[in-house]
């Protein structure tokens, strides 16, 4: 398939739980190798007890995110040649989340906050009703479409300082999701969702660092979505529709 590139990689991988440590492995360098390929090589050829998560390998499922040389990334679409520093890689589980084992972080807080910020769509029609036509050019739809391609990889959550400092903060992905639903006129939980994101730990806790959009592998702009929510919540509060 691919011929071996020059030399080996020195790969430090987090082993164990919260109190684990890095173990270093030598992995043959190959052309067009991804960080996920490297982790897979270690598990298949060196230590089958290594735990990590992936599914699609093509940047769609969002399950393969890890901390690579200090920065959260989707490993299946990250080429080693782009991130290895002097043939060295350091791979750890995603930050800001509990560690289950090795490279598997516990995503529960991420998805619990996603729910708490009103991430679930609340239908207003039943399957017996005709499908409501929504043109892609409608202004609200254009805004929603800009954030809809989130794959819930958790990269933004792991990279956000405010998440690290403020345990209540729901984080960029949850707020990005909430913003897409606030611009979906088929949704019937607008008021509840706006109240949820305007409370402590919601959109107003964001410091607009923009690390989330810098790191997002889908090139989304959670910061933009969050400022949209801030404006929307502020207007609703001034109109007396929100009581925090």
């Amino acid at each position: 398939m691919t011929e071996a590139a020059a030399g080996d990689l020195s790969v430090s991988i987090w082993r164990g739980g919260e109190d684990g440590s890095f173990t270093t492995y030598r992995v043959p360098a190959r052309a067009s190798q991804t960080v996920l390929d490297v982790v897979t090589h270690v598990q298949r050829h060196i230590d089958p007890t290594l735990s990590y998560r992936f599914a699609c390998r093509v940047g769609m499922c969002g399950s393969c995110a890890m901390t690579v040389n200090g920065r959260p990334r989707w490993t299946c679409r990250t080429h080693v040649s782009k991130v290895a520093e002097g043939g060295k890689l350091e791979i750890a589980p995603l930050a800001n989340l509990p560690v289950i084992k090795d490279l598997a972080a516990d995503m529960s807080p991420f998805f619990e906050k996603w729910q708490a910020a009103g991430g679930a769509f609340a239908p207003t029609l039943t399957r017996a009703d005709p499908v409501e036509p929504i043109r892609p050019s409608e202004p609200d739809r254009v805004v929603a479409d800009a954030g809809i391609e989130c794959i819930n990889c958790g990269v933004c959550y792991a990279g956000c300082d405010t998440v690290r400092w403020n345990a209540d903060y729901v984080g960029p992905a949850a707020l990005n999701r909430a913003w897409t639903l606030m611009n979906d006129r088929r949704d019937g939980a607008q008021r509840e969702r706006l109240a949820a994101v305007a409370a402590d730990g919601g959109c107003h806790a964001c410091h607009s660092h923009q690390t989330c959009q810098d790191f997002c592998p889908q090139s989304l702009s959670p910061t933009g979505a969050i400022s949209g929510l801030k404006r929307m919540a502020t207007r609703a509060y001034l109109r007396g529709e929100l009581k925090p």
Partner: protein, 109 residues
């Protein structure tokens, strides 16, 4: 931070922006004109306008700083949300008290 605190913080910031500019302009004016402390007090004492101006300034600064400090303490210290809110409120009251003292000293006849 929730929407209510956010609005108070942005609102006080918006209020302080012109107040700071006027305050700085007055400082420049006073130094350029070589006004002495007595000259300045002569103009501010008994002035309702300056009293209102600096009272608004002090109130806005105390609220703005209190809300900001609450966030910093909650994020960067082990005080917790409640501890941070209480400490920041105490600090805001202290600022308001010190500010009020200064305003009284400058405008009371």
């Amino acid at each position: 931070m929730n929407v209510r605190l956010y609005l108070w913080q942005r609102g006080t910031a918006a209020l302080m922006a012109p107040l700071v500019l006027i305050h700085v302009a007055v400082v420049f004016y006073a130094t350029r004109q070589g006004l002495s402390a007595a000259d300045i007090l002569g103009r501010t004492r008994g002035s309702v306008a300056w009293g209102l101006f600096y009272t608004a300034f002090v109130a806005a600064a105390a609220i703005h700083a209190g809300i900001g400090l609450r966030t910093i303490l909650a994020e960067w210290t082990p005080l917790g949300a409640r501890g941070a809110a209480l400490t920041a409120t105490a600090f805001a009251l202290l600022l308001a008290g010190l500010g009020a003292r200064a305003v009284i000293a400058v405008v009371m006849p």
